[in-house]
């Protein structure tokens, strides 16, 4: 690990201002950043600890939704009574991720910003455009079983590994931030994560030093909340494919996929097909899919996962 200086920020504005300096990075739970620093995939020279920023509360908004502080731990968010009752999909997605120990540390903002689990990204001996722009992509033509089947580019076929982000996408969450100049803004979750395109190292809409302060959820929409995660072992593994859904009694609803793209994959037009069943929805969702030979299995897996979701919604 490279050496770094360390400070504890005491206000969001101060943290954002400090983080605009070259080589500076925020640290929250540390469960992704430290993992990557040990491998020198991330090499910050200055860490700004944001744990003292009092961003660890979940509040009801005037609109009847929830404002989730950026530092709320994954365990606390999943266990919150209001989330369990009104946004069950979010609890389910969080509880399907990582382990009890990790969820006790992992934060709402850190979870959204966790980086890919592409094994070539982790192996510093391999070319990787995300880790080292311009070096190539070892996954294309390599072992790509876990990789994206849609929305990828010639530069990168990585997936976003977060379960929570899939739920946030279905719930139409908004990411609230403070920029280094002190101004605040709100970014709809649909515009937060990016597709890889020519710049796979640019993963989201944040500018350097921009601090996430909260994630807000609109009023609850009712319905049955389901999160199905398909993985190589029953617990403590990343998704091969996951589906988060809210299905209403009349068969309409909202749905997004994890494990298939560089961001949570939601296609509003596909949701219109929900009353017609899993096959129709999957066809719309994955209309432009370009799987590799190794991950073509994800296409039928998506359809079957959606079928399981819809079957559960009817019970």
């Amino acid at each position: 690990m490279r050496s770094f200086t360390y400070e504890r920020a005491s206000s969001p504005a101060e943290a954002a201002a400090a983080a605009s300096a070259e080589g500076a990075k925020f640290i929250a739970g540390g469960t992704n950043l430290l993992d990557l620093m040990k491998l020198e995939i991330e090499t910050p020279t200055h860490l700004i600890d944001v744990n003292d920023l009092a961003l660890d509360r979940i509040e009801t908004t005037p609109e009847g939704g929830l404002r989730i502080g950026a530092l709320v731990r994954n365990t606390d968010l999943a266990a919150d009574e209001r989330v369990r009752r009104d946004y069950g999909l979010l609890s389910r997605a969080l509880l399907a991720g990582a382990s009890g120990q990790l969820r006790n540390k992992a934060t709402t903002a850190g979870n959204l910003l966790q980086r890919t689990r592409c094994p070539y990204f982790y192996d510093t001996n391999q070319p990787c455009n995300k880790r080292q722009p311009g070096s190539g992509c070892a996954a294309i033509g390599g072992f790509s079983r876990q990789h994206a089947v849609i929305g990828a580019s010639e530069m990168c076929i990585a997936t976003h590994p977060s379960d929570m982000a899939v739920a946030m996408r279905v719930l139409d969450a908004t990411v609230e931030t403070v920029r280094p100049d002190g101004t605040a803004r709100s970014i709809p979750i649909a515009e937060f994560h990016r597709l890889p395109g020519d710049t796979p190292h640019v993963e989201n809409a944040l500018i350097p030093g921009e601090l996430i302060t909260a994630v807000t959820l609109p009023r609850p929409v009712g319905g049955t909340h389901i999160y199905h995660k398909v993985r190589d072992r029953a617990s403590y593994a990343f998704a091969l494919v996951s589906a988060g859904a809210i299905v209403q009694r009349d068969g309409t609803g909202h749905i997004a996929l994890g494990g298939v793209a560089h961001k949570p994959w939601r296609v509003e037009a596909a949701e219109a097909e929900l009353p017609r069943g899993a096959k129709a929805v999957a066809e719309q969702l994955l209309a432009d899919a370009k799987p590799t030979q190794e991950n073509a299995f994800k296409l039928p897996l998506v359809e079957r996962t959606l079928a399981a979701v819809l079957a559960e919604a009817r019970t």
Binding site: M1, R2, S3, F4, T5, Y6, R8, I27, G29, G30, T31, L34, D35, K38, L39, E40, T45, L47, D49, N51, T75, A78, A79, E81, R84, R85, G88, S91, R92, L95, A96, A98, S99, G100, Q101, L102, N104, K105, R117, C118, P119, Y120, Y122, D123, T124, N125, Q126, A138, A139, I140, G141, G142, F143, Q146, P161, D232, A234, S235, Y236, F238
Partner: protein
């Protein structure tokens, strides 16, 4: 065809540790470990795990993977279980830490330690301190009403069933495969038959 990545799968890191570069930055931290106030002056890179083992010589807590994947380094910080390998010691100013040494001693085992002995909840014992710290915290989490991936009804109070214990303990890997005995030990402490 591109070479296989050196990690065995998506969760694995690479084997070779790059060497340290740059002048170390030092920082002081005051923590309470197993009831004792300790002050340390550490390289900021020191994880809580290394601070416990290398600086405080509390070697009960083990390093397995050093990447959050095995649970051998599980300790409790302010009553919550965490992976001590994925947190910096300097981030714990003022925190209260309990390691396996703080739970009980050979002459004075706590209930979970005694149950692991009784049910043979180990073979080589390397994962055991992490398993026991995790198990103690799991029962606290169930008592606190925190749901899990296998909880049927999210709004109901979770119970310490075997399915719940297995899911909640999945962050602790046992290379020797002592899982069934581990679950029996925890179930006994939870007051339920396994």
């Amino acid at each position: 065809m591109t070479a296989a990545p050196s990690g065995a799968n998506a969760q694995a890191g690479t084997g070779d540790m790059p060497s340290a570069v740059g002048e170390p930055a030092m920082s002081k931290v005051a923590i309470t470990v197993n009831g004792e106030a300790r002050e340390l002056d550490l390289d900021t890179r020191t994880t809580l795990l290394d601070a416990l083992r290398e600086h405080l010589h509390l070697t009960g807590t083990k390093k397995g993977c050093d990447h959050g994947q095995c649970g051998a380094c599980t300790v409790m910080v302010d009553g919550q279980r965490i992976n001590s390998c994925l947190t910096l010691a300097v981030m714990h100013e003022g925190d209260t830490i309990t390691t396996i040494e703080g739970l009980g001693a050979p002459q004075n085992l706590n209930a979970m330690q005694a149950a692991f002995v009784k049910h043979d909840g180990y073979q080589c014992g390397y994962c055991t301190p992490g398993q026991i710290c995790s198990a103690v915290a799991v029962l606290d989490e169930i008592r606190a009403g925190i749901p899990s991936h296998v909880s049927g009804d999210l709004t109901a109070t979770p119970q310490a069933t075997v399915a719940e214990l297995r899911e909640r303990m999945s962050g602790n890997i046992c290379r020797c495969g002592a899982y069934s005995n581990i679950v029996e030990a925890i179930a006994e402490v939870a007051g339920r038959p396994a």
